[in-house]
């Protein structure tokens, strides 16, 4: 097999070198004069195109002209057909006597004797007064008979002049009315005659069925989407607050917030049509950020509650996808917030009501990415479980957001926040709320957390920090499961690293990629056994194929719109390649059963780590108290000195007990 490979490689290189040698030329300079290089061959160059006889007429003999590089005799009949491009004349002076210049061509004047005379002084003696004076095929223009094929500009001039005459010529003989006022009430003046009005059907239509207006600002609305005749039909607006207006375009200022019904009524004697729209007049605009934990109906209730306080709520629903991890979700949330940038900027208060602190992190990510200044805004984070760690994490986020206030409060305070309206006075909120200073917490007793706070403030994404802090947690979990439970894995690193890869891809896609890569990689590895390569190149070859497969997976991800696959980076890929190598070596040493046991153990632990690492409360806790890592160290020492049997060993040695 290897021999075959070698021979084919040799053949290939031979063919390549031969084909290079056979080439007679690379460019024209390699060929004799009069030859040119075409695909490596010198070809006699007998085509004249290369050397034109002439460039312009001056290169040709007299009586010839230059046409596409060839000198052609002027006398040729064909010339006449081609002259459109070659102007014989620009004005009549360029032509022989007895000829005139028309569209660059010298044309003979009428061969009749009269024409000779006329051509001398055509303006003084017009040879025609109207078309009838001319031949059939000619028109009379400016006293001259001109062929019908005249330049368009001139005909346009003629058209313009004509209507003046028409108006004068066609005054109606029976003069009844000049405008509608001359007629009866139910009549219209039409073409000077009074005609009875035929009323047409009307249809009232508004361009929107809901309007949001800030209290005190002008509300401009028009009826131009409707079907009506401005002169004949009545247009009546009822703004719902007792104000009624007429006209196709109206403006009104609401003085009280609330929800009004705007009615547009269009009518005439025969027909009538009306339409309504909701007008929400709000005192204040707020942004509400919720995630999938808040249902559609719940959201509607909140919006109605807000309206009852005269608050217009711009709600941003963050998508929930159970296939993806929080880490991925937060990045997506930040992008989603960016879509609602305008609403956030015009809101005086931003309310975040998400499970865990994802919404808060997403907001900080968003304000940092989009460079949005939140200084004038109050941000409320609603949670029913305000823990110390949440407050701590929020205190990291506060300086990043740099808002007027960052307030932690419970869900029950929602109405109180709405009641605040534009007021910034938090005292009105009542008892339960925590305001976080936008200045970073400087407690000398908690160096670790102020360090994390500093990192977050300096631009390291909280997501990254969480991921980093969760790594020791993951490793400790792996140790626990290995030492105490007795799950066998490919080392401690593999499960922790695979768990991190899963966080980047989401659980299901991550596992899918894992199995595809491992399956193909192991298959390849067995095929490579026969190739008898050195170990290092075997691994490299597997890596090459893993890369190709990854490219295909990326393509599939793009084609089927699975963004999770696209987010897989080289990092998990290398872990996979490493796993493949371990799998194959264990398989050949201890059999396929053992290898599968190890793979499943590794995978099971990876999934467990994935879930622990995506546990919001734990993330918050680790972020709030990074010094917990020291406690993990102690825990690991304990596990490292655990001499008890593992849970699996109790089962394995069941018969001995």
């Amino acid at each position: 097999m290897d021999k075959k490979l070698f021979t084919s490689l040799l053949l290939l290189s031979l063919i390549i070198s031969l084909s290079v040698a056979v080439l007679a030329c690379e460019d024209d300079s390699d060929c004799d004069e009069g030859e040119y290089c075409d695909n490596g061959d010198c070809i006699a160059d007998d085509e004249p195109e290369e050397e034109p006889d002439c460039v312009d007429d001056s290169d040709c003999a007299e009586g010839e002209y230059c046409d596409e590089g060839e000198c052609l005799p002027d006398e040729e009949e064909e010339e006449a057909n081609e002259t459109e491009e070659l102007l014989d004349c620009e004005d009549d002076g360029d032509c022989d006597e007895g000829e005139y210049c028309d569209e660059g061509e010298c044309l003979p004047d009428e061969e009749e004797e009269e024409s000779e005379e006329e051509s001398d002084e055509p303006e003084e003696e017009p040879d025609c007064e109207n078309d009838e004076d001319c031949d059939d095929w000619e028109l009379c223009e400016d006293g001259e008979c001109v062929l019908e094929e005249e330049p368009k500009e001139e005909t346009e001039v003629v058209v313009e002049e004509e209507p003046q005459e028409v108006i004068v010529e066609e005054p109606p003989e029976e003069f009844i009315c000049q405008n509608d006022e001359d007629c009866d009430d139910d009549e219209l003046c039409e073409d000077g005659e009074c005609v009875e009005i035929e009323l047409e059907e009307v249809e009232a239509l508004l361009y929107d069925d809901e309007f949001f207006i800030r209290k005190g600002s002008p509300f401009l609305v028009d009826a131009y989407d409707s079907d009506f005749d401005e002169d004949l039909d009545s247009i009546v607006w009822d703004f719902g607050d007792g104000v009624i207006m007429n006209g196709s375009e109206v403006q009104h200022i609401y003085n009280t917030s609330g929800v009004y019904t705007l009615t547009l009524r269009i009518f005439n004697e025969d027909y009538e049509s009306s339409t309504t729209a909701r007008v929400v007049v709000y005192k204040s605009l707020m942004t509400l950020v919720v995630d999938g934990k808040t249902s559609e109906t719940e959201l509607n209730q909140i919006e109605n509650l807000a309206l009852s306080y005269g608050i217009m709520l711009e709600s941003i629903s963050l998508p929930v996808n159970y296939f993806q991890s929080d880490y991925l979700a937060r990045e997506i949330y930040a992008k989603k917030l960016a879509e609602h940038e305008d609403a956030i900027i015009s809101s005086s208060k931003i309310i975040i009501k998400t499970d865990g602190f994802s919404g808060l992190i997403a907001l900080s990510q968003f304000s940092r990415d989009q460079e949005i200044n939140l200084k004038s805004k109050q941000i409320f984070f609603l949670s029913d479980h305000i823990s110390d760690s949440l407050a701590k994490v929020a205190s990291y986020i506060a300086p990043i957001l740099d808002a007027k206030d960052l307030v932690l409060t419970s869900n029950s305070n929602l109405a109180a926040i709405f009641a605040l309206g534009e007021s910034k006075d938090l005292e009105k909120l009542g008892s339960k709320y925590t305001v976080l200073d936008s200045e970073a917490n400087e407690s000398p007793f908690n160096i670790a957390s102020s360090f994390i706070g500093y990192l977050a403030f300096s631009g390291i994404s909280l997501n990254t920090l969480i991921l980093l802090l969760m790594l020791p947690v993951a490793a400790t979990i792996v140790v626990f499961f290995r030492q105490i439970i007795g799950i066998q894995t490919f080392g401690v690193f593999a499960p922790s690293l695979i768990a991190i890869s899963l966080l980047a891809t989401g659980l299901w896609y991550g596992l899918l990629i894992f199995f595809v890569l491992l399956g193909l990689g192991a298959f390849l590895r067995y095929q490579l056994k026969n190739l008898k390569l050195l170990g290092a190149s075997k691994i490299s070859v597997v890596l090459i194929f893993v890369t190709i497969l990854m490219l295909l997976l990326l393509w599939a991800g793009l084609t089927f719109g699975v963004s999770e696959i696209i987010s897989v980076t080289t990092f998990p890929m290398l872990i996979m390649a490493f796993m493949i190598e371990r799998f194959v070596s264990v398989e050949s040493e201890r059999g396929i059963k053992e290898a599968i046991t190890l793979v499943s153990g590794t995978l099971a632990l990876s999934v467990i780590c994935y879930f622990v690492m995506s546990w919001n409360l734990l993330q918050m806790f680790m972020l709030a108290y990074p010094s917990v890592i020291v406690a993990l160290f102690v825990l690991n020492v304990f596990f490292g000195r655990w001499t008890g049997m593992t849970l699996f060993e109790y089962r394995r040695f069941k018969q001995l007990r």
């Binding site: 030492q483 007795g486 008898k532 390569l533 050195l534 170990g535 290092a536 190149s537 075997k538 691994i539 070596s585 050949s588 040493e589 201890r590 059999g591 059963k593 053992e594 304990f638 000195r641 655990w642 001499t643 008890g644 049997m645 593992t646 060993e649 109790y650 394995r652 040695f653 018969q655 001995l656 007990r657």
Partner: protein
């Protein structure tokens, strides 16, 4: 007190020891026993050739190494005609039995292996070059090939072995053989004495050298699968010699805790195959005997004479 070079951990945790009934689990094995083997010990047992040299220096019987080839110039100088008519060629760092050729017959123009395949001199050289290049070593490291005496399993094992070579594993601690089993290759294990792959592990009574209980895949069995041969009561030939060799291995290697793998050769008797610094725990299931309490019983002993060690073992450990 014990004269162990390696102090046991000063503190350790096990809240459930009373539920363990003397079973040795992997954590206790690693922390108490394997940890007594130094890094150098582990490196030594990982190298088959070095181990053999050490054993030979100490007059411990082992399969004879006829020659080693560690580079190409050695290969070009090598005189194949000096090899005996049957031998085994192995990579030093090989794993999973790859790269091993068992030659049973020498002909004028080549060699015949155990499966009847013919190897010309050129084939043989090519195989050795592949070995040197690391084709069979883990991670592709440069390797050495060596020619070894071809083991012929003692004929008394015939009824118990489907094919391949059975071996005997003896756990030795404080120079005393503590627990032993014989690993019998089966059809499933493809002739390899590898419990993971389906070989049968049969416990041996230290006192008598007779097989007792047996297990395959961690489950008790009474008969050899497929052949139906009863396992219990088979007397291992030259048992005292086997125990003595095992004890000697620990004394001379200095390993604190060791599993000695021995093959009974038809002509040469017990030959040490290799030493194992992390012997598996499945031996407890094969014997239906817990290991931890046995290890604790010899913990305080200081016996440095192999014969005395065998005597003590036989007294202490009667199944």
């Amino acid at each position: 007190m014990m004269d162990s070079k390696y102090a046991l951990p000063k503190f350790s945790f096990n809240f459930f020891k009373r539920f363990e009934n003397g079973i040795l689990g992997i954590n206790a094995r690693n922390l108490y026993y394997v940890s007594q083997n130094s890094f150098d010990d582990l490196k030594l047992v990982d190298n088959k050739l070095e181990t053999k040299e050490l054993l030979q220096e100490n007059n411990i019987p082992t399969a004879k190494v006829y020659a080693t080839i560690s580079n190409r110039s050695e290969l070009s100088k090598f005189d194949f005609s000096k090899l005996p008519s049957d031998f085994v060629i192995k990579p030093v760092k090989g794993f999973g039995g790859e790269g091993i050729i068992v030659i049973v017959k020498k002909e004028d123009d080549g060699f015949i292996d155990i499966k009847g395949n013919k190897y010309s001199l050129g084939d043989m050289k090519r195989h050795i070059i592949e070995t040197l290049d690391g084709t069979f070593s883990l991670g592709g490291a440069k390797d050495t090939a060596f020619f070894e005496h071809r083991l012929i399993l003692h004929s008394s094992f015939k009824p118990l072995v489907y094919s391949g070579i059975a071996d005997i594993r003896v756990i030795v601690y404080r120079n005393i053989p503590v627990l032993a089993m014989t690993r019998l290759p089966t059809e499933e294990s493809e002739g390899k004495a590898n419990l993971h792959m389906g070989a049968v592990g049969a416990g041996i009574d230290i006192a008598t050298g007779k097989t007792t209980t047996a297990a395959q895949h961690g489950k008790k069995i009474l008969e050899i699968p497929h052949t139906g041969e009863k396992i219990e009561g088979f007397k291992i030939p030259m048992w005292d010699k086997v125990l003595e060799v095992s004890s000697k291995c620990q004394i001379s290697s200095g390993l604190g805790y060791v599993g000695v793998d021995i093959v009974l050769d038809e002509k040469l008797g017990p030959l040490v195959l290799e030493l194992n610094a992390r012997p598996g725990l499945g031996i407890q299931i094969a014997n239906d005997i817990t290991l931890r309490d046995r290890l604790e019983r010899v913990e305080e002993l200081e016996i440095n004479d192999p014969l005395e060690a065998v005597k003590t073992a036989k007294e202490l450990f009667r199944n």
